[in-house]
Amino acid sequence: MMRKVSLLIGILLLYTTVAASGQELRIYNWSEYMDEEKMPADFEKRFGIKVRLDIFENNEEMVAKLQAGGVSQYDIIVPSDYIMPVLINRKLVQPLDHAKLPNLKNLKPLFRQTGYDPGNVYSVAYQWGTVGLMYRKNQVSGDAVKSWSVLFDEKKQPGPFWLIDGVREMMGIALVYLGKDFNSTRPADLKAASDLLVTAKRTKNCMGFKSGVGGKNDVVAGTAVAAIVYNGDAIQSVTEDPENLAFTIPKEGSEIWFDSMCIPARAPNPDAAHKWINWLLEPEVGAALSNYNQYATPNVAAEAYITPEDLNNPGIYPTPEIMEKLHFTKDLGKDNRIVDEAWTRAKTR
């Protein structure tokens, strides 16, 4: 009996080692940020490298995973702009080899000299977008959603809704609603924002905090009438059901973000990672990505292949008026701690 058991174990172990060989690219990306079946398949067809996709729902979760060992297990990560200093400071990402990235020239100049990574040392822009409010048209009036008070003022709440489960996005929105700076680190401001969130959370209509994608799915399913979501996710659903769904950015303002692709410091297959990045910078591929996920592309060559409706959609490519109300999230260095505490406070009361 013992011999049979050890034979079985041996076979199992052998199988796992065999299955693990073969070129593989491991991507750690936001959920529903690309066509999760077609894109990896296309890449594999072109380069013969298998793609394994793992997903996360917010930047902090991604960094936590990296710090807990993911830094040597993923080849590509997709962080947002404000978390880049953390990654660079903690040496969690490696410098890119521009010789392997000839398509870098396709990026718009703005994305070649960003504030967080001038010269694309560590990152290449992936998509950019905003955070806003998605809602069901028949239950929420177009007027009400002109202001964030539709969520924060109990009398104006139209029905069940979700707040977004991302510390900087949610705190930022609370801060601008109160007339403060989106990136404020003043304890009084943060306390007020935190209190606002607690009050809102406790109302009957607030269902709690959910990721952008989760909130979007609930609005689409009808279990919520409004949710704070990322614009691309929302526009995807609005396009499928324009009669019932809509997206807007309330007047007090919201977040604008750039997402980039980076290679973790001890990635198992950096060569494949570079191939992926360069491939994504190709005009048709970049356009396919944006046409699928309905976010804005940083790729000037790709713009030729993007559908005209998208190019003219202010939800995807905001007008100058809207741009004025949008804020970048800034990395706060040591002050990150107080924002974290305010967030924990909002979630735990």
């Binding site: 174990i9 199992l12 793992d54 993911g70 297990q73 990721s211």
Partner: protein
């Protein structure tokens, strides 16, 4: 047979209904031909078929199985030896109490504390050796740690039930330690060992928290997969997967009953 009070019977039926209502709901809607919502749109098995074509689910299933089998095997061996060592030797009271306490810790401790301490320790050990990267080996270690205690407790109670006579008789007949173990103790102990192993197996299959904290990119297990999917929105495919897992659980329970009732 005693006649039970009407209230006892009523409460019992209600309780069983309470336990099964959600699970039955999942099973029912796993064969509903509707992408979302609870309106019955006809019977279909297509969600099950989609499962078998989803290679990530198949991989998660394989990982779950591998994890459970390997950790159960290691834990059963270690736990059995531990039980024999604790029960069949004349330890003094303080030693015995100390060993007992250590054994009870994994049984009683909330598994999140166990997971947290492993995360921290492995995080530090990672700097010295890459064995401690998140992934299947780490998950196996975590599972074995709490499984050992359960196996040891089960086997120990079986040892208590066996009593001394057989072993004493064997020794009287000049049996050596090893012979006595192989031919006398082990066969008598087997039902207990099997019970312990089955318990360890289900604990591993059921575990979520330890796996959640120790998992790496290529060691996704079924519970982790379902948790991540459920947070984004429930789909009938998840219902199908869950129903399948429940059916497998039923089979395991029946098998376990067979083994331990010998």
């Amino acid at each position: 047979m005693r006649r039970s009070h009407f209230l006892t019977v009523a409460v019992s039926w209600l309780t069983l209904a309470f336990l099964y209502l959600p699970l039955v709901g999942v099973a029912v809607f796993s064969v509903n031909d509707a992408r979302r919502g609870l309106v019955w749109k006809g019977f279909t098995l297509k969600w099950y078929l989609k499962l078998f074509r989803n290679e990530w689910i198949l991989e998660a299933a394989w990982n779950t199985l591998l994890l459970a089998v390997i950790s159960t095997f290691v834990a059963t061996v270690l736990g059995t030896i531990l039980a024999i060592a604790m029960d069949r030797f004349p330890w003094r009271r303080p030693t015995r109490n100390f060993l007992d306490t250590i054994l009870y810790i994994p049984v009683v401790i909330p598994d999140i504390i166990l997971a947290a301490s492993l995360v921290v320790v492995f995080g530090l050990l990672r700097l010295f050796s890459s064995f401690f990267e998140p992934g299947l080996p780490n998950m196996i270690v975590g599972h074995v740690t709490f499984q050992i205690a359960f196996v040891a407790l089960v086997v120990r109670s079986r040892l208590g039930a066996i009593g001394r006579e057989m072993e004493e008789a064997a020794r009287d007949l000049f049996a050596s330690n090893w012979y006595m173990f192989r031919k006398v103790m082990l066969p008598l102990l087997m039902p207990g060992i099997m019970a312990g192993a089955m318990l360890a197996l289900t604990l591993s299959l059921d575990d979520f928290v330890i796996s959640f904290f120790m998992a790496g990119p290529d060691s996704q297990t079924l519970p982790l997969f379902i948790f991540a999917a459920v947070r984004r929105g429930v789909t009938p495919q998840i219902h199908a997967l869950s129903t399948l897992i429940m059916l497998i659980t039923v089979v395991l329970v029946i098998l376990a009953e067979r083994f331990t009732r010998r």
